[in-house]
Symmetry: C2
Subunit: 333 residues, 2 copies
């Protein structure tokens, strides 16, 4: 049993201490190393604060794992408010019996993703629950970042005339996780697009002071994100189907499974509403950035049909893109 | 099925939105109401940041529930760094099938505890997992607070001569949860002591600038907290058994179950190391505070046996108080 997590690893006693100390070399930084009840850091100005729990199944998937997802997801939520992500908290709920080797792999991947995003993990928590009371491991991260002066980005800020920019092809993450979970084999395996987007957002903000909305289309996909923009801004949105790129293997999987890629989760893409005069310069900045090579203008904000997203299809028709009522893909993030 | 949580409530679609909007009236504040990917607030100076996941079983217990616990636990972790708690994040992992009425009760209790502690919930997340993949509901809260100028509290700051003050009787929370879970009936039911301690800490800090260590003895109990002080400060601690109050019903339960109250979790108590000259004034301030009525000096920090906690027993003997190796009471918080 030496190679598995025991209830005692969550007890607060010696085994807990040993486990937590075994994490430290991977995550070490002067703030975390104090191991007090809270981490303390200096801050000045506006701060962004966000949280997400990650329950993805399976915990390891093509292109990532629950550790990389837990860092990127929260970094991206901060970045979508225009913030520079600085610090994360990290909380594990572990099912008794998890292989310690799996936990170490997840930690290594947390370390790598945090390094890539330039964030530090400064506080944490580990709970262990009895077998059958959780599914392997759940991870929660909360994050804080600084919002640069003058930046005011919100899903409520879209204005008629704004261009809608999408940073790349959609649907990779959802299809990667689903196909692995269900044991579906496609000719070309689809890797998740899971990536930290704070660098991309920084490049966009450096190019323009007129970025109005930013959001990463995770659960509910691009359709839900655009409906958030339209709903919260009380504006209409029109997008063109033929501008939205979908990887061939993702499209094939969607057709096979009866899914619409507009509703599939992404973990390394963003949608933006940008003032029309700045759209081209933002687009150019995105294309030069590591995770924005596939950026394209897919539509615009209009004064008509406030709260509604309309798509011009490749056949020339128009259809309303609504948000999904129910569950398409459970435990995708 | 209208009265239970469905997978679709975690989908990011319409049912998710409806559920989240049903939370809002309970938690509403201008920062939360924006519903962007991050909450944004103003900060200046030193900030404390902490996180904890709560997996307590049962979710409703005598004297509290998982909601009250999730607010108090994180508020207390902030307070133990000397911080004034300001904001919390709130993340649910819900097992499909949870009664919506139970979720509403938990939310009401979160609201009540947050009001009592004077903190606002400004960002959140809800995930739903399939039946059998979690146990009813897990809650994560992260918290931020401001550390007043000049305050420097750490488990590493104890110095020989410091007095050890305990805010009240120990063991209530652990015994309350355990007896309810195991269906144990004692003559006098024990309610949990679950409470926000930021007011008590504020009163202590107003009385003295020489509070060196603060910690709430949760998992692992008072024994583990004092070992943290001794280990991180590389000092010895001597405590007197007859100064440590234990409720009669808690003592009876511990004797019946073979537990030592020193190792039982508390959720509304704190231990402090205070410079000797200020110990009496801090003690007096604690006794006047809502949750410090039972405060007492239980021992002191010594130069001898660094890293070790020694207890003088009521019989006049001395014994080493070590930290527990394994799990005494799983899922107590």
């Amino acid at each position: 049993m030496d190679d598995r997590i025991l209830l005692a690893h969550g007890s607060g006693g010696k085994l807990s201490q040993d486990l937590i100390r075994s994490f430290l070399p991977d995550l070490a930084n002067p703030i975390l190393n104090r191991l007090d009840d809270s981490a303390v850091f200096e801050a000045n100005g506006r701060l962004a604060f966000t949280t997400d729990s990650y329950t993805v199944n399976p915990i390891f998937f093509n292109g990532g794992d629950i550790g990389r997802l837990a860092v990127c997801g929260t970094v991206n939520d901060l970045a979508m408010s225009g913030a520079r992500p600085l610090y994360l908290s990290l909380a594990f709920i572990i099912e008794e019996g998890l292989l310690i080797a799996d936990l170490k792999k997840i930690l290594a991947s947390i370390k790598e993703a945090a390094n890539e995003a330039g964030v530090k993990i400064i506080t944490g928590d580990t709970k262990v629950v009895d077998q059958g009371s959780a599914d392997k491991i759940f991870v929660n991260t909360a994050g804080v970042g600084t919002v640069p002066e003058g930046v005011d980005i919100s899903a409520a800020n879209a204005r008629p005339g704004d261009k809608i920019i999408l940073s790349g092809n959609i649907g990779d993450h959802g299809i990667a996780v689903l196909s692995q979970r269900e044991g579906l084999k496609f000719n070309t395996p689809v890797p998740s697009d899971c990536a930290p987007l704070n660098g991309l957002v920084a490049d966009m903000l450096a190019a323009s002071a007129n970025i109005h909305c930013l959001r990463d289309p995770t659960r509910g996909g691009l359709a839900t994100t655009l409906n958030d923009f339209a709903g919260q801004s009380q504006a209409g949105i029109v997008i063109e189907e033929d501008k939205i790129a979908v990887d061939k293997a993702v499209l094939a999987a969607c057709e096979f499974l009866g899914f619409d890629p507009l509703y599939i989760a992404n973990e390394g893409k963003l949608a933006a509403a940008v003032a029309p005069g700045d759209a081209e310069v933002v687009l150019a900045a995105m294309k030069r950035s590591k995770y924005g090579g596939g950026a394209v203008i897919i539509g615009e904000v209009v004064a008509e049909h406030p709260g509604q997203v309309v798509m011009k299809t490749t056949l020339g028709a128009s259809r309303i893109v609504d948000i999904p009522v129910g569950e398409l893909l459970p435990r995708i993030c």
